[in-house]
Symmetry: C2
Subunit: 593 residues, 2 copies
């Protein structure tokens, strides 16, 4: 039904007859002629209808936006004065002599020429996706997955599917449950990741596995989260962490090369400790040159409890953030930053403006100046590298609060002051702690299957909080795009980690019995990684709206505005599943919640 | 951790040092030497340990089956007398001088040298998949998907993901439901197919879509069904049924070329009516040359109600199946076939043996001979092409029962008598009826989105049972490997089909409102197809067990014996979902059901 795509008609076809199928993108009537921009997947081309070709012209007068049509016509070069350099097909136009209206379009609920509310756009998603700028996101996504698959194939990875109807596991976020009809009262869980299955595939000897796979998390959604998301999931046997990282880095480098035309070069590797120390973040955005400077040693003795307290507390931290040119900040701006850091648990924001470095204590202006002395100020300015006209912000609290607050402030100030370099800044963050402690309990920083670096079972049990995980995150421009680890491949170590996490033997058996069993039969050393595909495509397309890169996304309340899912279930179906919903009386309208 | 895969060590490496990582497949001690077959993903290689290399040899004496090991050694040519032609690496062996035992293996719960029950094999799936013959199924599957993706990419199809958490649709089989936590009392459904989403993508103008995607059906499982299965899902715009078939046929031809080394040639195209008439099946296995012959016209007048009744009923059918050499069948065998056809609703099986064609009525032997006459027998023998020594079976009942029973009998007799040709017999079956009637209601033979061939809304409403669907199934060796259709692309036609199916306007709006809306805005003509990936891989690997081609399959009661899913859910989780299970008191043990 076509000889060419609209977007592919070019000067080489001048004089040829073509048949095109697509949509009326725009119509213009000019001097008795009817012009339309006709659109299909590959782009736009200008078509005109001449009154002398009566049949086609008369039909053309019926055309409205988004009619689906087929035309036959001859390609002509446009006169030089009418060439449109902004259009790929702008050198030519089609002189149409035949027009078939395949399907009319009612007046559109979306106006393509102006901004529509996201709610309207999601409700009429099939129309919104006709906009070339919107379609581009999904086309890029298809290119990314195709490129990823080709790379993984070439590297000998086998694409193996893992189940969607799985057993619930307590991996932090909440499972979506699926009631079983055959086994009434029992439930499947949709996978949060294929983690254990991919490890089992390594135990089976498949050696290199990958899958581009849907995963599910029933957690409170943020703007950049979706209940279902897609992972590029990878696992390998007999490879070290360095080797896994090298392969995955190569994949991402090739993606950026092919899709962004950029050479990312070799990725720097930074320990978790260094990232927290210098950037207050485990996913530092290295496009912003600002860094934190630790100064606890300078303020241990000052008569200012806000500084001296944390400086003398082994779990405390005092850090300075130098802001180039920050002396120009108004009091109001500084107050706003002070409010901003309280979101992250900070009680306030001490600050200092550097008028003249050479003058030392006299050259600064700060509410806390009175607690400082010449030598502290001299060392502070030297250590932060402050220049005349800079400002310095201070964080003083528990190490966690300082990192969270000053890490976030660093990003905010960087963006506000235009200090974000236009570039790609990838890195690896490695050597995470195995465990975090909260309320006297240990939590796995990655997941409970992550191996510790060079540590025996006895050593791990003795000082778990000192253990370093053999884990790695890939970070690009401040986004964690992927993460992985070497996995535990010994039964005893796996049991020890479970025990440290407070999972007793019975629970271990019930939840992970099959894994512990499998670890008895010659499990190979294995390691892997998972990328967030949605995130990668967001970076590559330059959008900050995750819904842009998903064909049929859900809202932040996990609804599909297009199909109106979730919906009420058939009562017979529920009866057959032996489940009953238990709702407060009047709660039947979804929109009320 | 390796320089080569075990299966890749060959004569070209003789004299070289290699490092291998893998598993002890077998151990043999011979004349003071220890030999092992070492295995990894790519195959086996023989390794030997010499007592003169004390360290490695001593460790080697600990080796047991399935230990995970690393060895370093030198490749040697085997003496001519010891070359093993059955082994890809049979010309060489490794003289090991270093052995690392990476992970020991407890005695195995599966004996690799004999048959294990499928239950045991599924429980220890990770071990069963170590068997090269079992791993081969998944490796072939990975090759198939890789090949499919490459083809689809080359043909300009875009890989676009559709949602897993969707709205329930009444497509025949039962949906898996997923309770929503945010919208308590509401449910998502796991997709039975991405049908509507792929049609919406065509309405968005993506023009060519494909996806290899999990689909779900909560129906009573047969041996060859799984609750979750994988489709190669395809949709195109502006292509005719012929064009879609041509592309898909090319894909399958390339798959068979690459994976089976076979040229399938051009696929014959057969109407549904012809398939039912000649083979009693809409997915005929053309490897079996047997055919049904209609003879209702011959027996309208006979004094035998079993024949005359259906012969005079417009919905009846009388058909003969000629079985070459069937006169040699014993009475017992014939009785068994008689029992067999009752499964399909037949009341019995009339038969006739042909002793001498030339003798006509006298030359046959049959319980029903007394009802026949010379001219009927002469015409019957001529029409079926019967030869001396053949048998003829008769089906006489409603057309449906005759097709079902005689179609099944045809396959059974074909297999029993060794009449199945060793070959690949693909075909297209086309021109299905739009509707089937049952209990005075119409049902869609494909699905309610299928377009009828050349028929107006008025004509369809007037005689729906005469309408022919623009649908096509691909059949290979009696298996339906794929099916599809041209879709309805006009709002009015879609509403008409819904109405004919008994879906009233309100229900249409509730369930398919978004589709009917979308059909108002210039929907392009579109058509598509879906292949069952599991089935394709079964055919290509030669297994008849669907579980072989799925990494972690479920049993016929939809259980995972490895992880023990489904399982009891956390009561807190259920409370949060506002659902409660309602079970008869003692039903807590899954195995009882």
């Amino acid at each position: 039904m076509r000889t060419h795509y609209c977007g592919q008609v070019n000067a080489a076809l001048v004089g040829q007859s073509v048949t095109l199928s697509g949509w009326v993108h725009r119509r213009r009537d000019l001097g008795g002629l009817i012009f339309i921009d006709m659109r299909d997947r590959e782009g736009l081309v200008q078509v005109f209808f001449d009154p002398d070709k009566a049949g086609a012209y008369e039909k053309a007068s019926e055309l409205r936006a988004e009619f689906c049509i087929q035309i036959k016509g001859v390609v002509r070069a446009r006169p030089e004065s009418q060439v449109n350099r902004d259009m790929a097909t702008g050198e030519v136009e089609i002189f149409a002599h035949e027009l078939t209206i395949i399907n009319k379009a009612a007046p559109l609920p979306l106006d393509f020429n102006q901004n529509n509310s996201e709610e309207q756009r999601l409700k009429y998603r099939y129309l919104d996706l006709r906009r070339p700028e919107q379609a581009r996101f999904l086309k890029t996504r298809a290119r990314v997955t195709s490129r990823v698959r080709r790379f993984m194939d070439e590297q000998g990875f086998l694409d193996i599917e893992t189940p969607m109807l799985t057993k619930a596991t307590p991996e932090g976020a909440r499972d979506y449950l699926v009631p079983s009809r055959v086994h009434k009262g029992y439930f499947y869980a949709l996978p949060q990741s294929p983690q254990l299955f991919k490890q089992l595939l390594m135990m089976s000897g498949f050696d290199r596995y990958y899958q581009i796979v849907k995963c599910f998390r029933d957690e409170d959604l943020r703007a950049d989260r979706q209940p279902e998301f897609t992972q590029i999931d990878v696992e390998t046997s007999f490879m070290t962490a360095d080797e896994v990282r090298a392969v995955m880095e190569q994949l991402v480098r090739e993606l950026w090369q092919d899709l962004a035309g950029v050479d990312l070069g070799a990725f720097p590797v930074m320990t978790h400790a260094e990232a927290m120390r210098r950037y207050g973040s485990d996913k530092p955005d290295l496009r912003i040159a600002l860094e934190l400077t630790d100064i606890a040693d300078l303020v241990k003795e000052v008569d200012f409890q806000v500084f001296a307290g944390p400086a003398n507390d082994p779990r405390g931290r005092v850090a300075a953030l130098r802001v180039p040119g920050g002396a120009a900040l108004s009091r109001k701006q500084i107050d706003e930053y002070g409010k901003f850091v309280t979101i992250y648990g900070a009680k306030g924001l001490a600050w200092l403006k550097v008028n003249e470095v050479a003058k030392g204590l006299e050259g600064i202006q700060s509410p806390v100046a009175k607690f400082l002395n010449e030598s502290i100020v001299a060392e502070l300015l030297a250590r932060t590298g402050a220049q005349d006209g800079d400002a310095i912000f201070f964080g003083a609290d528990s190490a966690k609060v300082v990192a969270d607050a000053m890490g976030a402030l660093r990003l905010k100030v960087g963006k506000d002051l235009g200090l974000v370099e236009e570039s790609w800044k990838p890195l690896w963050v490695v050597d995470f702690p195995m465990f975090e402690e909260e309320d006297g309990r240990l939590y796995a920083m990655h997941h409970p299957f992550t191996a510790a670096k060079e540590v025996s079972v006895a050593e791990l049990e003795a000082s778990p909080l000192e253990a370093v995980a053999n884990a790695y995150d890939m970070v690009i421009n401040g986004y964690e795009v992927g993460g992985g680890s070497v996995r535990i491949h010994h039964n005893e170590m796996q049991q020890t980690v479970f025990r440290l996490l407070g999972i007793n033997a019975e629970e271990q058996q019930e939840k992970f019995g099959f894994l512990l069993d499998a670890l008895k039969y010659g499990t190979p050393p294995h390691a892997g990684l998972a990328f967030g595909l949605d995130r990668l495509v967001m970076l590559l397309t330059g959008t900050d709206n995750i819904r842009d890169v998903i064909a049929f996304p859900k809202t932040t309340t996990a609804s599909c505005l297009l199909t109106d899912a979730p919906s009420l279930a058939n009562p017979d179906a529920l009866a057959e599943l032996a489940i009953r919903t238990e709702l407060p009386a009047a709660r039947t309208d979804k929109t009320e919640q």
